[in-house]
């Protein structure tokens, strides 16, 4: 029941239960079968998303806080960057050195005012290994200090440094005498004497804060504790420092611990649940923070003298695997049970706490998840004041962010937002169009076969140039974008992500296109190599065309193919370019007269003017003069090249003799 799986809970709260009673039995069966199908349909994606959530926690692919619609999750600002200097880093380090080098604990004296302060005792609890004779684990409690801490202080007034602080020596964590210590935990005991403030009564709840160092600790008291007598109330809370695997559980940070009355003091491990029992009723885990008393404190490990064992090496998530189940919850813990169901149970409490709800400072936003299957509402689940994603328990803090997250991260479902007087209704249905196709960077799959999704650490990937700073014009976030579109069908069918979300291939080799090859179109040449070769061989096949003509024709064909001339009026330009590009070659191969014949022929076709012939030949002469020692070798070359030409022509046409004649073409 405690949030083990959505599906299980889904079965508990069928929205159509009322309807089910009214219909007759044969229909009942059908409905049940339908319901079974509904559950099956939702089970698979839900399980997938739960798995992905876990994987993302262990090895995140990205951080949610970097997403634009989750910017509020990013606690720090970049404001400091503007004024940042390297020297500042040194100062920070120096300041840190000044700290005491033992675990420092902080609640302490501020005022002895009876109304405004309570006494806090912190004990270090060591659970030792059982010895043969022991029935249960020997437990040692070492008091570390007792301080008066303010109750419900005004957070504005408290100054840093004025808070009481406590110190726990690292020696305490050393293996001690006879007993092997299994785990260490901190036990907070807050005792308060005297009558309750009338104020508290009026409010139905007193907001009392315990001030601890930087962070004020707030202690809320349930209104049900309205015992009038001069009794001493004691609240306790326990937090594990090292679990039995000697893993550090408490890292530096601010903590808020919910306290429990002494009578139902720390639940023993065997009964560990995620729920807290308050006033004999089960409270969902996070309700304790808004309903019950809490203690805020800041914890800092100082120095590294405490040795390796205490060094805060454990990843935050390591806690997830720890077997020690402390009954308390910390905000750092990533455990969040499926909230939608848990919240449901809250509604039962609603009667008893009506007055609280009324005077609650912020209004609770209710979100109704309505699960649709076959266009029928199958289940409605309400989440109250809870903007966590039901599938990955990510706290989205805002309705817009939640919707955006749902839509982008859980595309196996279709989410439609419907405004609701009490908050929002989200219609959840299965996305039939979801095809599971990969929508990430396609290069990741192919560029590094085997390494692509290596989770063994950073791996060098093929270099991809991305624009790092991109500020697209974003439309103002508006909930209206999640409303069901009127002509929605087409929109739904198209993948939500557009762009190049697939891997492309070279059309010639079928090899994957590497990212750096995206830009140029390798297969778009006007003159692919085979075509250049083809035009040459085709001309070579002629038996009644001499080798000089062939050579000029080939040169010209390649020239035209390269530049792709299409108009008559380009020809003058084309000729000049031809002379420019191939002039030297023509001279070296001794083809000037053939070149001239070509020009004259072009003129006969009305494509060039005589002026162009003149200019082209003048350019050729000019190139000839610029060519080094062409004059001296001219004569030899004439003979050699002509001979070579002939030889070439013969060898190249040897096998194709008699294949084609130009005269056959004109017939």
């Amino acid at each position: 029941m405690s949030g083990a799986s959505c599906k299980a809970n889904g079965a508990v709260y069928p929205a159509s239960s009322a309807m089910m009673n009214s219909v007759k039995k044969p229909k009942m069966e059908q409905i049940q079968a339908d319901h079974e199908l509904f559950l099956q349909a939702f089970e698979k994606p839900t399980q997938i998303y739960r798995f992905l959530r876990t994987r993302n926690l262990i090895a995140p692919v990205f951080l949610h806080r970097t997403l634009t619609f989750m910017s509020h999750r990013n606690g720090r600002t970049n404001a400091k960057r503007k004024t940042f200097k390297v020297d500042d880093m040194l100062q920070t380090v120096e300041r840190m050195k000044g700290e005491v080098n033992l675990p420092l604990f902080i609640p302490s004296q501020n005022s002895e005012n009876e109304q405004n302060s309570v006494s806090l005792e912190v004990l270090l609890v060591k659970v030792c290994h059982k010895k043969r004779k022991d029935v249960s684990c020997p437990i040692k409690q070492v008091p570390t200090g007792k301080k008066q801490v303010p109750l419900n202080p005004d957070s504005n007034q408290t100054k840093p440094g004025s808070h009481p602080s406590l110190l726990v020596s690292s020696n305490e964590f050393e293996p001690s005498n006879s007993h092997m210590v299994k785990s260490y935990s901190l036990l907070f005991r807050v005792s308060r004497t005297g009558r309750r403030d009338t104020n508290g009564l009026v409010n139905g709840e007193a907001n009392e804060n315990i001030d601890v160092t930087d962070t004020p600790s707030r202690k809320k008291r349930s209104s049900s504790h309205r015992d009038e007598g001069e009794t001493t109330e004691t609240f306790v809370a326990q937090m594990t420092v090292f679990d039995k695997n000697r893993r550090l559980q408490l890292l530096d940070g601010e903590y808020e611990v919910s306290m429990q009355g002494m009578e139902d003091s720390p639940v023993s491990k065997k009964r560990a649940t995620w729920e807290t029992i308050l006033d004999g009723k089960r409270l969902p885990p996070f309700e304790t923070f808004s309903q019950g008393p809490t203690l805020q404190f800041m914890l800092r490990w100082t120095g590294d003298a405490s040795g390796k064992s205490t060094a805060p090496v454990a990843k935050p998530l390591a806690t997830r695997n720890s077997e020690s189940s402390s009954p308390m919850e910390t905000r750092t813990s990533n455990h969040r049970a499926a909230l939608m169901t848990v919240k449901e149970s809250v509604s039962t409490d609603i009667q008893t706490r009506k007055e609280q709800v009324l005077c609650e400072p912020r209004q609770k936003l209710r979100i109704f998840y309505q699960f649709l299957y076959n266009n029928n509402t199958r289940q409605q689940t309400e989440a109250r004041d809870d903007l966590h994603c039901p599938w990955c328990t990510l706290n989205c803090s805002k309705l817009y962010s939640l919707l955006k997250h749902l839509k982008l991260s859980h595309s196996r479902f279709i989410f439609n937002y419907v405004p609701h007087p009490k908050g929002a209704r989200i219609d959840v249905s299965i996305n039939e169009c979801y095809d599971g196709s990969y929508v990430g960077n396609p290069q990741d799959i192919h560029s590094q076969p085997g390494f692509a999704f290596s989770r063994n650490g950073p791996v060098k990937r093929t270099a991809v140039t991305h624009i790092l700073v991109c500020r697209p014009k974003r439309t103002k976030p508006s909930l209206s974008e999640f409303l069901e579109s009127e002509d929605g069908e087409l929109e739904q069918q198209r993948t939500y992500v557009s762009g190049h979300n697939r891997l492309y291939f070279h059309s010639d080799s079928c090899m994957p296109l590497r990212p750096q090859e995206m830009e140029e179109d390798s297969e778009d040449e006007r003159d692919p190599e085979w075509l250049r070769e083809k035009t040459a061989t085709q001309l070579d096949e002629f038996t009644d065309v001499n080798e000089g003509e062939k050579e000029v024709m080939k040169l010209w064909n390649l020239h035209v193919m390269k530049y792709g001339f299409i108009a008559d009026n380009q020809m003058n330009q084309a000729i000049m370019l031809f002379a420019e590009n191939t002039g030297a070659h023509i001279i070296r191969r001794n083809l000037c007269r053939n070149f001239l014949l070509h020009l004259v022929s072009m003129h006969d076709f009305n494509l060039v003017s005589t002026a162009t012939i003149d200019r082209a030949m003048a350019r050729l002469r000019q190139i000839q003069e610029e060519l080094p020692d062409i004059e001296e070798e001219q004569q030899d070359q004439t003979v050699v090249s002509a001979g070579a030409c002939n030889g070439n022509a013969v060898t190249s046409t040897g096998g194709k003799q008699g294949k084609r004649t130009k005269s056959a073409l004109t017939d």
């Binding site: 196709s437 799959i445 192919h446 076969p449 085997g450 999704f453 290596s454 063994n456 791996v459 060098k460 762009g499 190049h500 979300n501 697939r502 492309y504 291939f505 059309s507 079928c510 296109l513 995206m518 179109d521 297969e523 040449e525 006007r526 692919p528 085979w530 035009t535 085709q538 001309l539 038996t543 009644d544 001499n546 080798e547 000089g548 010209w556 064909n557 035209v560 792709g564 299409i566 108009a567 008559d568 380009q570 007269r593 053939n594 001239l596 014949l597 004259v600 022929s601 006969d604 076709f605 009305n606 005589t610 002469r621 002939n646 013969v650 096998g655 004649t661 130009k662 005269s663 073409l665």
Partner: protein, 627 residues
């Protein structure tokens, strides 16, 4: 052995890892040590490679950006393999296929085992072993017998069946044949019809037509290429008329030795008087009339005007005398003479220019040679006298009728579109007998008819983008002709893609960047890299141009393969992108496509353009309706 191999692998890996370390790439792990092969347990790190999805089948094809015309295949090139099942099931299919080609399949030699090539090779190989002629004869004789045995029952071109055992006769036949074949291959020896290379040592003095014959016959006036891939029949230029007489005689002598000094002295007075007369009779501008035109026309007009006959005879005699007196004995090589004849047909009597182009002779020598050759040289064509200068008004009227005609054509005619072939019917207007008219095509700039032909498309005069039916080109499903449409920008900005005219994309090859990937539908698909607007040009559908008959034959095979790249171009031809094509061939069929195909007349050729039917986003797959 194993250990040495092992050592090699280790070394290589070390080198690789060293290199990768510098590039920070995850190193390769190989099992650390094998040690002894016996007894010890060996540990090998297991590396799993991610599965890579296989790509769809692709049959090889050649990239092409312009259509390529191929002839009909007379033999079946290969018997298509479609898997054993199909062959078993449907044996008749292959038979029918072979029947389509009259039973000819590639590889069946028509003349037994030995063709000319093999024969020559064989003989020359055998002749190495014999020193004298007799031996060779014998060898050939033996060989012949062998051959007879080999090609038993098969007809051989060199051995008529009548000669059964007359091996002596045969050997003589063969030796003759061998000599024929080998003589052809002697270096430098060319078939008699081939003009020798004008730049080569064997250049001969030939007539102009002969010198230019290759260039004229092989040049494609439509592709600007020699022996182009697209147009099998080329028109020779001799019927092309000169648009304007651009020959201008250099008015200034080119140097001290210029021929003009020769002519000037004796003829100045005469020429002036002649030009006066000539311009009064004819409306030629004096500058455009060449000196030799004058001479020749004088000769012709002799009958008309007796005074000119007298003038002619009176004047020419001294000139001739003078020339013969001064002429130096200059040796004209064959190449120079040929070149001269070529150039005189273009430059007429601009001897300075001719001399400049020949390069090895002065203009005086050229002039003298000209005089010697005067009998055979054509005169410059006179201006067309039968076309009176046209008024602009008439032109406009012509254009208006054209627009009407286009409209009519569009409404009236059926869907039959015929291939365009430039018309060539000298001295006959383009009437109902003109092939262009009968095929309901416009005459193009490639036609031999006059530029005033009624059937010519006049081009557009748009100043806009030519992408609405306001543009007559667009209306006639033609791309703007850069030689006709001079205002829309189709003739500007050759090197940039920014052309104001949007109706010239196919000819310019302004295609979009396409990317190939496995399709979301079937097989391969083609995806667009950048978003496009509605009606924007995406790519031309290129391929082999084959006849309808050939398409029928090929289509049979393609239908069996369930994969066809055939695309009807017009009534005569089909584009087949199976063997040659461009990437758009991978676009799949859809009944709800995002592209459409349009066959357009592009500078005389029908070409298939693929256009966007709606706005298309980045990375979308392209589809068009095949039907």
């Amino acid at each position: 052995m194993f250990n040495t191999n092992r050592q090699k692998i280790m070394d290589r890996t070390d080198i690789l890892n060293q290199e990768w370390k510098t590039r920070r790439i995850q190193p390769v792990h190989i099992m650390t040590s094998v040690g002894s092969l016996r007894g010890t347990r060996e540990v090998i790190p297991l590396k799993t490679l991610n599965a890579v999805a296989s790509v769809p089948v692709m049959y090889s094809w050649s990239p092409l950006q312009q259509n390529f015309m191929v002839e009909d295949e007379t033999v079946l090139h290969n018997i298509p393999y479609m898997g054993d099942e199909i062959l078993d099931q449907d044996g008749t299919f292959i038979e029918e296929l072979i029947k389509n080609y009259d039973g000819k399949v590639h590889g069946d030699r028509e003349c037994g085992f030995i063709n000319d090539e093999i024969f020559v090779e064989l003989v020359s190989a055998l002749s190495q072993y014999s020193d004298n002629e007799d031996d060779e004869e014998e060898e050939e004789h033996d060989f012949k017998v062998e051959k007879m045995e080999l090609c038993e029952g098969k007809e051989h071109p060199e051995d008529p069946p009548a000669l059964i055992s007359l091996s002596v006769c045969l050997s003589v036949c063969l030796s003759v044949r061998y000599k024929e074949l080998t003589e052809q291959q002697l270096p430098g020896a060319l078939p008699p019809e081939c003009t020798p290379n004008i730049d080569g040592p064997n250049a001969r003095s030939v007539q102009r037509e002969q010198s230019l014959h290759s260039f004229h016959t092989l040049f494609c006036r439509r592709c600007f290429k020699y022996d182009c891939f697209l147009h099998p029949f080329h028109a020779t230029p001799n019927t092309y008329k000169r648009k304007n007489l651009e020959n201008q005689v250099d008015t200034k002598p080119c140097g001290l030795d210029c021929y003009m000094y020769l002519v000037q002295v004796s003829q100045r007075s005469f020429i002036h008087s002649f030009i006066k007369y000539h311009s009064s009779v004819n409306c030629c501008s004096p500058s455009s009339v060449s000196v030799f035109t004058i001479f020749t026309s004088i000769k012709q007009m002799g009958g008309k005007n007796s005074s000119f006959v007298r003038g002619n005879s009176r004047c020419q005699t001294p000139v001739k005398m003078k020339l013969t007196g001064e002429a130096e004995a200059v040796e004209w090589s064959g190449a120079e003479a040929s070149l001269f004849r070529v150039l005189i047909g273009t430059y007429y009597d601009n001897f300075c220019a001719i001399a400049r182009l020949i390069g090895t002779k002065t203009c005086r020598q050229v002039y003298e040679f000209r005089v010697k050759e005067s009998s055979i040289i054509a005169r410059a064509p006179a201006e067309d006298e039968d076309t009176p200068p046209r008024k602009k008004k008439r032109k406009h009227r012509l254009w208006a009728t054209h627009c009407r005609k286009i409209q009519l054509k569009k409404d009236g005619s059926s869907n039959h579109v015929y291939n365009y072939q430039p018309c060539d019917h000298p001295r006959q207007p383009c009437d109902s007998s003109c092939p262009c008219v009968t095929a309901q095509n416009f005459c193009e700039k490639f036609c031999q008819c006059s530029s005033e032909c009624q059937n010519r498309f006049p081009g557009c005069r748009c100043k806009a983008q030519c992408n609405t039916k306001q543009c007559p080109c667009y209306l006639a499903v033609r791309e703007c002709d850069p030689d006709l449409c001079l205002t829309c920008g189709a003739a500007d900005h050759w090197d940039s893609k920014n052309v104001s005219c949007k109706n010239c994309s196919i000819q310019r090859g302004a295609k979009k960047h396409l990317l190939l990937a496995p399709s979301d539908v079937a097989g391969w698909g083609i995806f667009i890299k950048e978003p496009v607007q509605k009606n924007e040009f995406i790519s031309e559908y290129c391929g082999e141009i084959i006849s309808q008959d050939e398409a029928d034959r090929r289509g049979k095979v393609y239908d069996k393969y369930m994969c066809s790249f055939l695309f009807n171009l017009n009534n005569d031809f089909v584009v087949d992108a199976t063997r040659k094509g461009n990437k758009i061939r991978f676009a799949n069929h859809s009944v709800n496509p995002n592209c459409y195909a349009k066959v357009m007349m592009v500078n005389g050729d029908h070409r298939i353009g693929i256009f966007a039917k709606r706005a298309i986003q980045t990375g979308e797959e392209l589809f068009f309706d095949y039907r």
